[in-house]
Symmetry: C2
């Protein structure tokens, strides 16, 4: 394969650099913990190291938090609906001190029914890379889970659910963590939690308290409690986020294998059809955006 | 008034001691930060100090977390429905090293529709003290808000909502706190948050993220964000907890004046009728329980 460009998937905690062909096929991939938090103040140095030995002449395109106010340069949010054309028209670029030009993908913004804004950065690129038939629902679970709806090849709207971060602080800083031990790999407790959370997502401030009482009364072991709480939160998230899915519509999950499996299990318990998407969605998305912008001739 | 008994409202962070007449009228009240956390390991010493100078001959009755496994002695939970008779039959007592007998009120337990247990300690005494006509809905807001339903003088069921504790950890330990300043006294932002939370309590993991985006886009000032988040959580709590209230049924709020006002404002925005109950409910409740147990002859 002929190297055609360099793609950077540069998030808060991780930097993934790819030497890729025009269609996004990966020739070489590198991964480092130099996300924007760790790399702050030395982005050019981290960039130079991450692409060392790759041809200087190749175009470079980056997505993720590196294009935020806390990143290298701010690429202002592009409003939804947004597809390849809208995003390609809003790319921002800078030239490094060593004369290298880098192009940054903007994040997206949309307003929910209530008029409250929401934002993503990086997930739009993954979804555009994973798009098969140009329509569908996508889930990128994690610290801040993102649910996206794609219509005719454009990201129509999306919503953030703070599931992972809420789990971490409930476990780490509230009374719910006091009876817990272990890290949460009790499958039965996870499933019980998902069912509980999904049955009544509107009661979340109440249902999480069951993590304490089920421990107090000895119904669940201390090692089962983290899984139970995780299940309650994920069940609540899925029930709420899929409320307006058409009957039988499938959700494509984009995540690392373990997390994707966890959410696929939870979706099944919630009667939501789910498929796990490709792991290389980010670099395919970067290739598609770069081509749409005319960067790869 | 003739002193008839000593009542202790002894919670996690505060001890309130009352010298009271038979009907619960307060002759003298004392308050200290020696809740069970601060007083652990020296309950008798703290007790002696808190009742110093009051007649040794009077019966003593205590409610709250002092009767929990982490307290002085465990008074096992009494199952719902529970009124004065059921609670009086489950009192537990101990005799101090100095020969003083102290009677402890049990907490209550109930199972929700899903079979998950819930617990209260102390709130049952306040509600029995505030009871007017023997029926109604009661709210004791706070770190762990408690919603209780009373039927024919007995506490029929209740539910805990972790509203206050969730607010504290979201503000103190998540990305939502990063843009915040101040302590949350922006009334307009609080009201906007209540409306937002109440409109879709099932979306809570999503709606809280609005605290970040409304700050990012400059729609809300940093000083308005704590109030907004508090409103979202309280609105979500009220909408969920009042779901099965009969139309026009009123909720009686038992809390300190400022917190009671805050929740009364929020209830009004949620179209829930609310009245603020008496501040002396705990000592009245202790008097009623003591009389039902034949301790005050």
């Amino acid at each position: 394969m002929t190297p055609a460009f360099i793609g950077l998937d540069w998030g808060t905690t991780t930097l993934r650099a790819y030497l890729a062909a025009k269609d996004g096929s990966v020739i070489e991939a590198r991964r480092s913990p130099d996300g924007i938090l760790a790399a702050a103040g030395r982005f050019e140095e981290v960039f130079a190291k991450s692409v060392e030995g790759w041809p200087d002449s190749l175009p470079v395109i980056a997505s993720g938090m590196i294009g935020s106010r806390q990143g290298w340069i701010e690429a202002p949010y592009c409003p939804c609906p947004a597809g390849l054309a809208e995003i390609a028209a809003k790319l921002v670029s800078l030239t490094t001190r060593s004369g290298r030009r880098i192009v940054f993908v903007p994040g997206l913004t949309c307003n929910d029914a209530n008029g409250t804004p929401d934002v993503i950065r990086g997930e739009e690129t993954q979804v555009l890379g994973a798009l098969a038939n140009g329509n569908g629902a996508y889930l990128l679970p994690g610290t801040h889970s993102k649910w996206l709806a794609v219509i005719d090849g454009r990201i129509d709207r999306f919503a953030t659910y703070m599931t992972g971060e809420v789990y971490a602080v409930l476990k780490g800083h509230t009374i719910l963590g006091r009876l817990m031990s272990g890290e949460g790999d009790d499958d039965a407790a996870f499933r019980a939690g998902v069912r509980r959370g999904a049955a009544a997502p509107e009661l979340l401030l109440h249902t999480i308290f069951g993590t304490r009482t089920l421990g107090l009364f000895g119904t669940l072991e201390s090692t089962a409690l983290p899984s139970y709480l995780s299940g309650v939160l994920i069940g609540s998230e899925i029930a709420a986020a899929t409320h307006d899915l058409k009957s039988g519509e499938s959700v494509t999950i984009l995540a690392s294998a373990a997390l994707a499996e966890r959410y696929a299990t939870a979706c099944a318990l919630c009667d939501v059809k789910a498929a796990i998407g490709p792991e290389n969605a980010a670099i395919i998305g970067l290739a598609r955006i770069a081509r749409a912008a005319g960067l790869l001739n």
